[in-house]
């Protein structure tokens, strides 16, 4: 905008140039990432316990687990947990940002049941060996990392 003499302003040279509302700042952004999980050497240690991810390919996850159960001689997941080695205490679980899923076809029945049981014992935020096994397509296709939360209070 230019103020000229006819608007009551003294005119010297080209007149007074006013800021007409152009950009005076820029938007900046920064990614923030920090975790207390999995850092075995940090001051707060919540080490990784297990990574679990099964690639069922084109098979139905539930049918596949049923096959593993039958092959191992069990009726339900809760029977199977008695002979499969599982982490014995609650763990924090989070979605694995870099999963390496194991192909279901490459697993024996007991190996497959072990991984499926861990997935069936996880809620959205933690693994609990004391809860009933809950298998759904969603729970079996999750890719998770389990961490031991015991070191949080270091």
């Amino acid at each position: 905008m230019t103020l000229a003499a006819d608007q009551g302003w003294p005119l010297h040279g080209p007149g007074l140039l006013m800021n007409s509302g152009g950009p005076c700042s820029r938007t900046r952004s920064e990614r923030v990432r920090t975790t207390v999980l999995g850092d075995d050497d940090g001051p707060v240690r919540c080490p990784k316990v297990l990574r679990v991810a099964i690639d069922f390919g084109r098979q139905s996850p539930l049918r596949c687990v049923e096959r593993w159960l039958r092959a191992a001689g069990f009726e339900t997941g809760n029977e199977a947990r008695a002979i499969v080695s599982l982490p014995d205490r609650r763990c924090i679980c989070q979605v694995d940002p870099h999963p390496v899923p194991v192909s279901a076809g490459s697993l024996t029945a007991l190996e497959g049941l072990g991984l499926a049981l861990v997935l069936g014992l996880c809620t959205a935020s933690f693994y609990d060996p004391a809860r009933p096994v809950l298998w759904t397509t969603t729970s079996l296709t999750r890719r998770l990392v389990l961490y031991d939360g015991g070191g949080f209070y270091a």
């Binding site: 938007t27 920064e30 990432r33 959205a124 949080f152």
Partner: protein, 472 residues
């Protein structure tokens, strides 16, 4: 309405029915009483009438006119000329059993200071007034607390330290607050100048109540202590300051009010007692004496919270107590040490996560979740799940922060991250790492933290409480 509620009308003082339990309680405790009201509302008449009915050696001073010599008498040296004695007159305060300081808000500050020790410790010039039993005062509403229609120029706010010495502070109603019967009684000019005499009924009752009050003080009902503790916390949290002295005075007045009202004492958790406690609370707030009427809604909310916390079932009582407590570490201790059962613990955690400010809820979730995982919290699986859901985004913070940078600047950092860095910098490693998770999460989630240093300190105290539990 019981017999005790009409005692003052037998003295010719009308319109005090609602406040009578409080006035009687002040007579039982002997603690200082202050009446605040417009001119002509019967404040002075009431207090002078009580002194007449009780047959007290009474002094009535007008604080705006009084000189200190009027109170203590004219000083003169004793025969040995080693000490000062005071020439006593019928108006001097020595030997008085009750003192009414009228217009206390109109006296000079230096006189207020002298009256302070009279009101506070029954002393004047450092000398005890051995026979003084009652200290009463009256004032017009101070100038900052006026209705637009009527100004009391010269009625200044009391010094809060002086006002806080009065156990009972009552607003005396005007004509409009009288019912029709009382209006007619007040309008009737008969009885002017007659000494108040109820045949010794009030004196007899006080002789009965005062020993009962002394006995009750030695074994104060736990509900009174619980209520006063809870309501003082709630009011302070709401920005209405209650001093520790005030809390103690409130307890005394409540005990006296219960002693006077047999029915309320018999069933402490009844509706009647609820109303009595509310009345005593309202009459125990000194703020009006310095011109700041406390927010009635906040007072009601504090009373309701404290009443429920004290009188409800043990489970509800604990829940109220948990939510009344502001500090996260104290909440953590309450949860760990006093939670009645896992269902109540779960409910408490769910309510905390839903109702606390977001930064506080996040701090509690992060501090508590690992202990909950270790099975050290008295909460059910749902509670652990809720804590886990809230703690997840704090355990791994992953997001983007944006800010505006002036074109003339370069390489600036996010203003909140810069402020948080100053908080984090002096902390030892593990504490810093945990605090970093909390504060960076707040930045990413756009949660405003008014005082990051305070939040971090509170979070760390909370972490320590849970850490001790896990280590034990």
């Amino acid at each position: 309405m019981t017999d005790s509620h009409t005692r003052l009308s037998t003295l010719g003082a009308y319109g005090f029915e609602t406040q009578e339990p409080l006035i009687l309680a002040a007579l039982v405790t002997g603690d200082p009483l202050l009446l605040i009201g417009k001119s002509g509302t019967g404040k002075t008449f009431l207090l002078n009438s009580i002194s007449e009915a009780l047959g007290l050696e009474h002094r009535h001073y007008n604080a705006s006119l009084i000189s200190f010599d009027d109170l203590v008498g004219f000083p003169y040296p004793d025969d040995e000329k080693t000490a000062v004695r005071f020439l006593e007159t019928p108006a001097t305060v020595w030997g008085a059993e009750s003192v009414l300081i009228d217009e206390i808000s109109r006296c000079k500050p230096e006189h207020q200071n002298r009256l302070f020790s009279l009101v506070h410790e029954k002393k004047i010039q450092g000398l005890p007034l051995a026979s003084l039993r009652y200290r009463w005062a009256a004032m017009n509403p101070c100038t900052t607390d006026q209705s637009p229609g009527e100004e009391y120029l010269g009625s200044e706010p009391l010094d809060p330290a002086l006002a806080d010495r009065f156990a009972v502070i009552l607003d005396v109603g005007d004509w409009t607050s009288l019912d029709e019967t009382d209006r007619r009684r007040v309008a009737d000019p008969a009885g002017e100048g007659v000494t108040s005499d109820d045949g010794g009924a009030l004196r007899a009752k006080l002789a009965q109540w005062q020993p009962a009050f002394a006995a009750a003080l030695r074994n104060c009902p736990p509900q009174v202590i619980g209520y006063v503790s809870a309501v003082a916390t709630a009011l302070n949290n709401a920005g209405i300051r209650i001093s520790p002295r005030r809390a103690r005075l409130l307890s005394r007045t409540l005990v006296a009010a219960l002693v006077i009202d047999d029915d309320a004492l018999t069933d402490v958790s009844s509706r009647r007692t609820d109303l009595l406690f509310r009345l005593v609370l309202d009459g125990s707030l000194p703020h009006r004496a310095w011109g700041v009427a406390p927010d009635a809604d906040k007072v009601l909310a504090a009373h309701t919270l404290a009443w429920n916390a004290t009188m409800a079932s043990p489970r509800d009582r604990w829940l109220h107590q948990f939510h009344l407590e502001r500090a996260l570490d104290r909440k953590a201790r309450l949860l760990l040490k006093h939670c009645p059962d896992a269902d109540t613990g779960t409910l408490a955690v769910e309510q905390l996560l839903a109702n606390e400010p977001r930064a506080c809820a996040a701090a509690f979730a992060l501090a508590a979740f690992p202990a909950a995982l270790a099975g050290r919290l008295p909460i059910g699986a749902e509670g652990v799940n809720d804590l886990g859901r809230a703690a997840q985004p704090l355990l791994t913070v992953d997001g983007e922060v944006t800010w505006q940078e002036r074109l003339s600047d370069a390489n600036t950092t996010h203003p909140e991250l810069a402020a948080y860095a100053a908080v984090l910098e002096p902390l030892e490693e593990a504490r810093r790492k945990r605090a970093e998770q909390l504060l960076w999460y707040c930045a990413v989630a756009k949660i405003a933290v008014a005082d990051p240093r305070k939040l971090e300190a509170e979070f760390d105290r909370c972490v320590r409480v849970f850490a001790r539990e896990v280590a034990s």
